[in-house]
Symmetry: none
Subunit: 190 residues, 4 copies
DNA sequence: TATGAATGAGAATTCATTCAT
DNA sequence: GATGAATGAATTCTCATTCAT
């Protein structure tokens, strides 16, 4: 799987031949098929392996946090943090996946991920922690897109890993402030 | 080109055969090559045709607007408005383009577009209309990503066109508030 | 199709590569697929082309003959005569066809051919021209098998074409005498 | 070998994978190769195992019979009787064997079997028990073919085992009468 | 003896592109 | 300009066979 990430990331899904991956992994072509039924399923496996970590995190740790803003912040840090140490994985997640039509159109984990974000926003709206004049669904997509776009340009660029962490913090600043309820908490006048 | 948009959008770049496009356009396969040097250049042409409109708009009309928030708002409306009436084009722009590795990695118009947004943000920061504690580059990528994510889910979904317009407004609300300088303009206490 | 007969006959169905046929035909591999959807369908086409001649003959000319023995004799001459000039075709019909499991198990023309023979035998039995103590179905299969076995060994051997004609006559002698009604027509005593 | 017969008969030679046979036999793939050097040799072994019984019978018991007609009758009963209880074996012998090009073209046992039949016919012709105006070689091939065709259609069909025994008797009736010497025993003219 | 994971050669089929008409 | 028949390179996946355990 590591060899596959490496080759997919550098050549793209369609440009990558199974024999490329096999050579990178130091095994024979046929050996790949002992573990993955097809080239596409191999790509799916790469993603599921990582996205399942994201989902597990969201189900296990995120609910422990006190309020919606903190939870969103945690998701943002998580989504970009997962990619920070591994630019190739970031390229897989942001670009390569879209090269397989089937994947992006039917990916159940993608939908589950969006739904989880949307749910957190709804809860925040009900508790008054987040503004209610915005559709939770739209906000979830905007958050996902902002993070995805950030990861995309980082993956394609030459910036160092730390740059992604800094970007994550700033994107979080923008989005969370953008979602704060009106009026912003005012310093109480003397 | 219209036939190409239709077929690319419904089947994806790699699943689309030149003969599919030719049949949809009512011409022979070879005729395609009288107008486009290759399949990939055909896809490039589709994009350039549209993105050049975006860029022209940004260079001609956006500068006329009074301040940075209004300019960003105009770009947001423009980017999503362009796609609103044409879900197939939206699918091309958000998904299909990424299916051609070369396109997303080298697209000069894509970079130019990001740069233009970044430039507007920088001007807003200098004039104090936008917060300065955020990297203009990061903010530009976040804006683009948020819009792209919104268009992506809209293109893949079954929502009506008006939904994209509503989403555009709300995404603008989030991002613009998120980029407002601290402290937010306070209502003067009585 | 002629190139395919030649290559199939000399190498067998499974040992023959499409590229072998293409080279023998002087065209590119892909050209084959402009005319035949698959390798197996190519083999089917070869057969249908010839077997349909047999069936047409049986439906058009055989009924004109006066009696069952003559009709059977005509079929025997026809079945082997078709192959006489073309040992390669004979090899296709007797051997290669059985190399494609689907072909021999489902071939509708094969069944139709057997049925036609059986029908002639039944008529001969009813008219008293052929013995009635034999199942028409069994007799039809025996006739077909005897002809097929004769063609098979001829195709595999080195005998000249005329040998097949001679063999056809003798096989006919055996089968027709074997099917004569008991007692054999005796010269009426004065 | 029993597992191989079962799987070969139901899927055909080329459609059968060694692992299918191994699974059916309850052993590992590699174990097959401890007993058979290759897939093709496994098929050959199946045949030799049975055909050798036929040949042994022909060399040991057939010569004991009094005359050529009885001997041919015994061979017919034997060839079809061997298959009667085992439709899968019949399918192997009549169809599957022809799927391996090499087998049918070079099979020494097949030739030996035909020669043995031919030899019996020659002896019958010399003794006047069989008609002499027919080539013994042609007659042998016709007999073999008739039996093979009968077994083939029986193996492919759904008829019960007893049907093959009945068919054997009738095919024998046809062939033996067809081979009787001319003139048929006539009532002595006055 | 038995295993079964690993091998890697092999082939049918697709489709972007060309070019004679 | 338009055609569309022909091209042929390119690649996934299969499976008979091996051999270290």
């Amino acid at each position: 799987m590591r060899a596959a990430i490496h080759v997919f990331a550098n050549h793209g899904y369609h440009q990558t031949r199974i024999s490329d991956i096999a050579r990178a992994a130091g095994v024979a072509d046929g050996t790949i098929y002992l573990y993955f039924p097809s080239k596409e399923e191999l790509l799916v496996s790469l993603l599921d392996d990582r996205v399942s970590k994201l989902l597990a995190f969201m189900q296990r740790d995120v609910p422990k946090l006190a309020n919606a803003p903190e939870r969103l912040r945690a998701i943002i840090d998580m989504q970009l943090g997962l990619l920070e140490g591994d630019r190739e994985l970031a390229e897989i997640v942001t670009i390569i996946v879209r090269q397989s039509s089937r994947l992006i159109k039917q990916a159940p984990t993608f939908v589950a991920y969006l739904d989880a974000i949307e749910c957190i926003i709804q809860q925040g709206q009900q508790s008054g922690e987040l503004r209610s004049d915005i559709s939770a669904s739209v906000a979830a997509r905007a958050i996902f897109g902002a993070l995805d776009g950030t990861a995309l340009t980082w993956a394609l660029g030459r910036a160092e890993p730390a740059a992604l962490a800094r970007a994550a913090r700033q994107v979080g600043d923008i989005l969370l402030r953008g979602l704060c309820p009106e009026p912003l908490p005012l310093p109480s006048p003397p």
